[in-house]
């Protein structure tokens, strides 16, 4: 141990390692550790090109990946009462919301859009895990109700991508009451004879799984997505034993009869088109990348720039 090993070598090493990992161009796969060129990774919808590990994909990127040409029109969601309980833990709920809006550029944890998917008109709702863990808030409930109403008005199927830790604690009982509210939205779709397809993405747990995310006509999950009601740690503490490998993962649920399919993200769009067109008794789909449909209404193009809510600017 001397001046050279203690000071010179670390400095030299850090110079090298800094040059080796320019974080704006490369992403390291969470699972296999392969360095992935960011554009290639984005083209593959954030699925590792080496090991097929599914990394998180943003809600807007998800919508782009589903709609033809990445074009969709957002469905307006009615704003609920802000902070109904005047909730405060170590931080105020209103401050947490402000932070989440600033971080994500979104209003809350769910986006709803309409458009065409393989030339098939659909309404799509995407839960945004990056917004307070995707938690089910009154806004999320409103979004699901709005999505169902829009699908019914347009006689289109609703496809919902779930991702959440559960109900939003900061909205207390009103967060919990989104379980019956969203269940009603699903019932309205069923009564209208329209398909409701759920794609469970990593992670979907708690009250979200115990309501709209488990009530789909067809239940699909992405590979290795964590899906369950109670958290694994709580279960281990309760039963006093280690849980088996793969517990609460998509493949485990498929084995236990809780899902219809586990499907790679890169194959999802084609599969959804097929399922929806069969259920709707439409002609067989045309496979492959289709150009964007013509914009007919007051459509907003959602290609590169997300709409940032005023208070988040």
């Amino acid at each position: 141990m001397n001046w050279i090993t203690n000071y010179v070598r670390p400095t030299i090493n850090s110079l090298f390692s800094r040059r080796e990992v320019p974080d704006n161009l490369w992403t390291k796969c969470d699972d296999c550790g392969t360095m992935l060129f960011h554009r290639e990774l984005a083209d593959n919808l954030n699925v590792c090109t080496n090991c097929d590990h599914h990394m998180a994909i943003g809600a807007r990127d998800r919508l782009k990946s589903i709609f033809d040409g990445g074009v969709f029109v957002e469905v307006a969601v009615p704003e609920p009462v802000a902070d109904p309980l005047h909730f405060r833990d170590q931080k105020r709920y209103t401050d947490r919301i402000k932070e989440a809006r600033k971080k994500t550029g979104e209003k809350d944890a769910m986006l709803v859009a309409e458009g065409e998917m393989g030339r098939t008109p659909v309404v799509v709702a995407v839960q945004d895990f990056s917004f307070m863990g995707g938690s089910m808030s009154m806004y999320v409930g409103n979004a699901i109700v709005a999505a169902a109403e829009r699908a019914i008005a347009l006689k289109r199927p609703l496809i919902l991508f779930s991702a959440a830790g559960g109900a939003r604690m900061q909205e207390g009982i009103l967060g919990l009451m989104q379980m019956p509210r969203t269940t009603i939205a699903v019932q309205m779709l069923k009564e209208a004879g329209l398909p409701y397809i759920v794609v469970l993405t990593h992670p979907t747990t708690g009250g979200v799984t115990a309501s709209y995310a488990m009530l789909g006509d067809v239940q699909i999950a992405e590979p290795n997505a964590l899906i369950g009601f109670a958290g694994a740690r709580v279960i281990e503490q309760t039963i006093g034993e280690k849980l088996p490998e793969g517990f609460q993962r998509a493949e485990y649920l498929l084995d236990h009869g809780m899902l219809d399919r586990v499907t790679m993200r890169t194959a999802l769009k084609d599969e959804l088109v097929t399922i929806v067109r069969l259920l709707m008794k439409q002609d067989a789909p045309v496979k492959g990348d289709l150009p964007a449909p013509e914009i007919t209404s007051e459509a907003t193009l959602q290609l590169e720039d997300p709409i940032v809510p005023d208070d988040a600017k």
């Binding site: 609920p80 009462v81 802000a82 902070d83 109904p84 309980l85 005047h86 909730f87 405060r88 833990d89 170590q90 009154m138 409930g141 109700v145 109900a167 939003r168 604690m169 900061q170 909205e171 207390g172 009982i173 009103l174 967060g175 919990l176 009451m177 379980m179 019956p180 509210r181 269940t183 009603i184 699903v186 019932q187 708690g206 009250g207 799984t209 115990a210 309501s211 709209y212 995310a213 488990m214 009530l215 369950g228 009601f229 109670a230 958290g231 709580v234 279960i235 309760t238 039963i239 034993e241 849980l243 088996p244 517990f247 609460q248 236990h256 009869g257 809780m258």
Partner: protein, 320 residues
């Protein structure tokens, strides 16, 4: 012998002293302690009144969980006649944490379903402390469906810490079972009345309580998460349950203001566990009165009203 809660310690002391005096007098007949003992009784009664007149949210949670609080079984035995338990989910098992069956209340045939926590070590284990597994929810779904077909009102008594977090429960679709039970509640074309008699623990409660009328016993609670769970997530310290209980607004008064609870059923002085008969009678009266409110409505109207009630929830928050 009453089990005292931690905040009732001063009360336990006074009541203990009065009891000691009387015990001494029984041994020494020449002693006259009645005057002193009566004064202690009055002091205890005043203290009880002031303690229960202004319970904090956390204390309400403690009262709601009091082991001597009347449970589902007690209400069914006292309020219903011809109770005929029906068992099993027809798929896997009979979950004893959920009890239910055909019965009559004031001559009206109904289906009654509830969580049962048990009242001694053996029955608590048998009842899994009121934490239902998927089979429990699936049994409830089956009984609700039966009631629906024969036009019987459904009465649910809610008292659960939450759905059971277990390996088998997850494997057999705990979340799906809860979702379907909630869905069934919302589908019914018969009156559905819920009374939260103790703990309304999250999704496990919603699965029974998505009802036309939700009543709560005064000191019962109904929450998205237990105060301990919330404290450990948001405060990173499970010991902060007093703060989290306050923040969660889980009392009957708050829920009434938010429109989640339609009716608060007053409890006897010192909570339902100090006078179970009075508490049970009040619950019975509330059930009958709510049944009467709903009995002339058509099936379609009952279902539509229930849905509209939930769709409208959250349009107003609590006053600042």
């Amino acid at each position: 012998m009453t089990q005292y809660l931690d905040f009732e310690k001063p009360l336990a002391e006074i009541e203990g002293k009065a009891e000691e005096l009387r015990a001494m007098a029984r041994e020494n007949p020449e002693m006259d302690v009645e005057k002193e003992a009566a004064a202690l009784d009055r002091k205890a009664a005043d203290l009880l009144k002031s303690l229960y007149g202004d319970l904090t949210a956390w204390r309400k949670c403690q009262v709601a969980r009091h082991p001597e609080r009347p449970h589902c079984q007690d209400y069914i035995n006292a309020l219903f006649t011809e109770y005929t338990p029906l068992a099993g989910d027809r798929n896997f098992a009979d979950d004893l944490s959920v009890m239910g069956g055909l019965a009559r209340i004031e001559g009206i045939p109904v289906m009654v379903i509830g969580h049962e926590k048990g009242n001694d070590t053996k029955s608590r284990i048998e009842r899994n402390f009121g934490m239902a597994r998927p089979e429990g929810y699936r049994k409830a779904i089956r009984l609700m469906e039966l009631a629906n077909r024969f036009g019987l009102p459904v009465i649910t008594l809610v008292d659960t810490p939450g759905a059971y977090p277990g390996k088998g429960a997850e494997e057999r679709g705990q979340s799906e079972a809860i979702a379907r039970s909630t869905e069934k509640c919302l589908e019914l074309k018969v009156p559905l009345i819920s009374v939260v008699i103790g703990e309304g623990g999250s999704g496990g409660a919603v699965a029974f309580a998505s009802a036309n009328r939700v009543a709560m016993l005064e000191h019962s609670v109904y929450s998205v998460i237990s105060p301990e769970g919330c404290a450990s997530i948001l405060w990173k310290d499970a010991e902060k349950m007093r703060e989290s209980a306050e923040a969660l607004r889980l009392t009957s008064k708050d829920l009434h203001e938010l429109g989640v609870c339609d009716r608060i059923i007053p409890e006897p002085e010192g909570g339902a566990h100090r006078d179970p008969d009075t508490a049970i009678t009040s619950v019975g009266e509330a059930i009958v009165s709510m049944l009467n409110e709903l009995r002339d409505l058509s099936g379609d109207k009952l279902r539509a009203d229930r849905r509209n009630k939930y769709l409208a929830l959250g349009s107003k928050g609590l006053a600042a």
